[in-house]
Assembly symmetry: C2
């Protein structure tokens, strides 16, 4: 019996080899669970991914037109020349850009680019910061890899000007406000971007609204370059490093610390956080106060954020500022 089953299997595989070729035979073997299912992904890692164009009739001029003829400008900023500009078009196409029927909008590239940025920066830290403790490596990575930092680079490089979208006053306004703020701060790159409010002699720090679309642009562009290079991570890294090298070196030599942790370490300041208060239910704004002691006097400062931990962070940053001032 066993013998005849084996014969039968052999015959089946033989038939497939003749009719379906090697791949057909492999599929039969897989289906019979003789070998575990194979994945083509390992191969894909070294394979060129085809174009982002979904409509075969598209001409290069169509792409240039949809990009508002911005290809050269963006390539100069990124210091990267696209082999296939349709990847660039996809990376810059907001979901509202319905005029573009040639590629999808950027969300899928953003999903991919986000993971690439995280992996390459993690690898860089792993390789170059051998003396750091694991906790410090994590702090360094979160100072570099976050939406605020990415949005700040986009604004600093002026990449947001090339986003293709329909008119959206609310979104455009939010972008303009963040851009103004960054211009005033001379495009400083930090994880915590705070407004200072002075209200009736009490100091309040509020998180600046950073429109997600700004960090999306960087992530999508990185995803696009990865595909355009056929998955060449060292080329992708050259682009990322070209943009981020200053902060990579700066933060590596002096790792930005968590403000709440740093404040708790100032034992003489006796920091005490108050209860979180919801101050705006619609847009989820939370306010937290912290009381500190300085020169025998108590000071209370407040932080406002999207959630309790962000509000605490803002308050701690303010408290540290008060403690370091004379």
């Amino acid at each position: 019996m066993i013998r005849s089953v084996a014969d039968c299997v052999e015959a089946l595989i033989g038939t497939y080899l003749l009719s379906g070729g090697v791949l057909g035979a492999v599929k039969v073997i897989e289906w019979m669970r003789i070998i575990p299912p194979q994945d083509e992904f390992a191969e894909y890692l070294h394979r060129r991914v085809s174009t982002a164009i979904t409509d075969k009739m598209t001409t290069p001029e169509d792409i240039n037109f949809l990009l508002n003829y911005s290809r050269n400008d963006v390539e100069t900023i990124l210091n990267y020349k696209f082999n296939d500009p349709s990847f660039l078009l996809e990376a810059l196409s907001h979901a509202s850009y319905i005029r573009n029927r040639v590629t999808r909008s950027y969300e899928r590239l953003e999903f991919l680019g986000d993971a690439i940025l995280d992996f390459l920066i993690t690898s860089h830290i792993f390789e170059n910061c051998r003396e750091l403790k694991p906790g410090e490596m994590t702090d360094l990575r979160s100072a570099l890899v976050n939406n605020v930092t990415f949005a700040s680079y986009v604004v600093k490089l002026g990449l947001h000007k090339f986003l293709c979208s329909e008119l959206n006053p609310t979104l455009d306004n939010a972008i303009i406000m963040f851009v103004d703020h960054q211009v005033q701060r001379n495009h400083e790159i930090v994880e915590d971007v705070l407004y200072l409010l002075d209200e009736e002699e009490c100091i309040i720090a509020e998180y600046v609204e950073v429109p997600k679309v700004l960090s999306d642009i960087l992530e999508a562009l990185i995803g696009a370059i990865y595909l355009d290079t056929g998955g060449d991570l060292s080329k992708v890294w050259s682009v990322i490093y070209g943009i981020m090298h200053k902060e990579i070196h700066l933060f590596s030599s002096r790792i930005p610390q968590q403000p709440v942790k740093v404040l708790y370490e100032k034992i003489h300041a006796c920091p005490v956080f108050g209860k979180a208060q919801v101050i705006d239910r619609e847009v989820q704004k939370i306010k937290v106060g912290v009381t500190i002691t300085k020169n025998d006097a108590q000071h209370t400062v407040y932080g406002i954020g999207r959630n309790k931990s962000q509000a605490k962070r803002a308050a701690a940053k303010m408290a540290l500022k008060v403690l370091s001032s004379f």
Copy 2:
């Protein structure tokens, strides 16, 4: 004047070329900001990383001894043979394993491996699930890439038995409890691992404590394989795919959904979540109830978790179970 400065620079670079070689000269040019600082990382991506051994006197027998002679067993499970078993030793060395003075403990490899897993699974989803919406891709990734899933694989494969650590009754107990639970559930891989408690006719679902060390083991092993292959991501992917392929296919064809979202979509059940209650301040346990309507009767079920959103998730899962039962 300009001429003589240029001459001086040339001379300096010349001197460095003679004394410090090309790299020295490049460093001088970089230091003078003539060319932007270069990074060796792009090159590193294609370079073999040297051994994990910190003590040059170490013999292969030392490594085998410190691994408790488990190399073959682990290699068979992973279907991967290490070129340099010191990477394997580092991946399996808990911080408490002070007997190992040959490599560091696994935290740095875990930091690296975590980013590799995220990147490779993201790439796989991007490449293979072209029909998914961006939100679905994110849901699919979080169902696959999380500490509970990783810990479940480690226990299913029995890799936790090879962790090298000093006796730690609290940790060992937590591991044993999770292992027992997984054995009872036939090593099912899901994101939410819940205990059901029946207390005075009220249904409570509590999150099972998943010791972080278990998911750390998988992440550290992936980091170790990446270094051992000299950064060959397709070889790393073969190992990951060998472990995870069943759930990758299963979850891709039926994406696990967020239970809170699914419950809110059951409008006839009129789900109403109660306030979050802190039930154990020491270990941060939060309890949330949700009331649902079924066959004109109201039922309240509870979820317990480490934070409010986890507790809500557990409660929603229970509520969905009640709704689907007869």
